[in-house]
Amino acid sequence: MPARQLEAAVRREGGTSIIELRGEIDGLAEEAMNAAYAEAEEGDPQVILLNFAEVDYINSTGIALIVGLLAKARAARRRMLACGLSDHYVEIFDITRLSDFMNVFDDEASALEEAATA
């Protein structure tokens, strides 16, 4: 299966910036992830939501990239949420304890509902 290099698109819903991720989150994803995060921070959102619904592979380097984004969000006192992870990657978020610092939702609607009420 050929690798699908990561594509990231940013849009806004109220006070939340949503980063839609498509493809694979590995070492090749760093530039796209960081550029999307910088764009997502424009407008000083309270919440940044990472939507993984179109992500089919995350490796340990990808986990490190996500940790890096979460660190930036926490330093700027923004909440970071995640949605759309497959069961396998929900387990990996639990094992790595990422889900202790980043609430994980089944889908974008659930995450946005939480973002709006918090």
């Binding site: 592979y57 340990s60 380097t61 490190a64 660190a71 790595t96 610092f101």
Partner: protein, 165 residues
């Protein structure tokens, strides 16, 4: 191109193990995906639970990345050799590189996520931790010129088997 097959194989003395696959890949970025896909095909006949298969494939990809990066310095001419062996009791995937930086021993401690989030540690360093948590057993053997990581999934009575019983 030298063949990094080790003179002895972890668990290789067991006569009840069948070889499901035996192949090598150049140490090039991205080949961990090929490794996990080929191992996935090799174990298809075992009809593993989907969750167990995904965990195994993640462990194979991570161990292959480590072998290519730390063992072979991403030299394409240095192959990573992968063997898949099965017995009625367990499945073993042996991933061997040409030796280089010592393979860290599989410890029990989780990476310190708080320290990483505070910028006190590099965000990296999840590979071995993921591997350990994706399979029932991980063994590392080293001789003068090879490192081999053995990933073991119990097919009967192991953690995954007991969870689905």
């Amino acid at each position: 191109m030298s063949d990094p097959r080790p003179p002895t194989r972890p668990g290789g003395a067991r006569s009840d193990r069948r070889i499901l696959a035996d192949f090598s890949l150049p140490s090039e970025p991205g080949n961990e995906r090929a490794a996990m896909d080929r191992v996935g095909e090799a174990v298809r006949e075992l009809d593993l639970e989907a969750r167990v298969l995904k965990r195994l494939k993640t462990a194979v990809a991570e161990a292959t990345m480590n072998a290519m990066e730390h063992g072979n310095d991403y030299r394409p001419e240095a192959p990573v050799v992968i063997r898949v062996l099965a017995s009625p009791e367990d499945l073993s995937v042996l991933i061997t590189d040409g030796g280089g930086d010592p393979v860290p021993a599989p410890g029990a401690e989780a990476p310190d996520l708080e320290a990483k989030l505070e910028g006190l540690q590099t965000p990296r360093g999840w590979g071995l931790f993921l591997i350990r948590n994706m399979v029932d057993e991980m063994n590392v053997t080293t001789d003068r010129s090879h490192h081999t990581v053995e990933l073991v999934v119990r097919l009967k009575g192991g953690r995954d088997a007991s969870e689905t019983a």
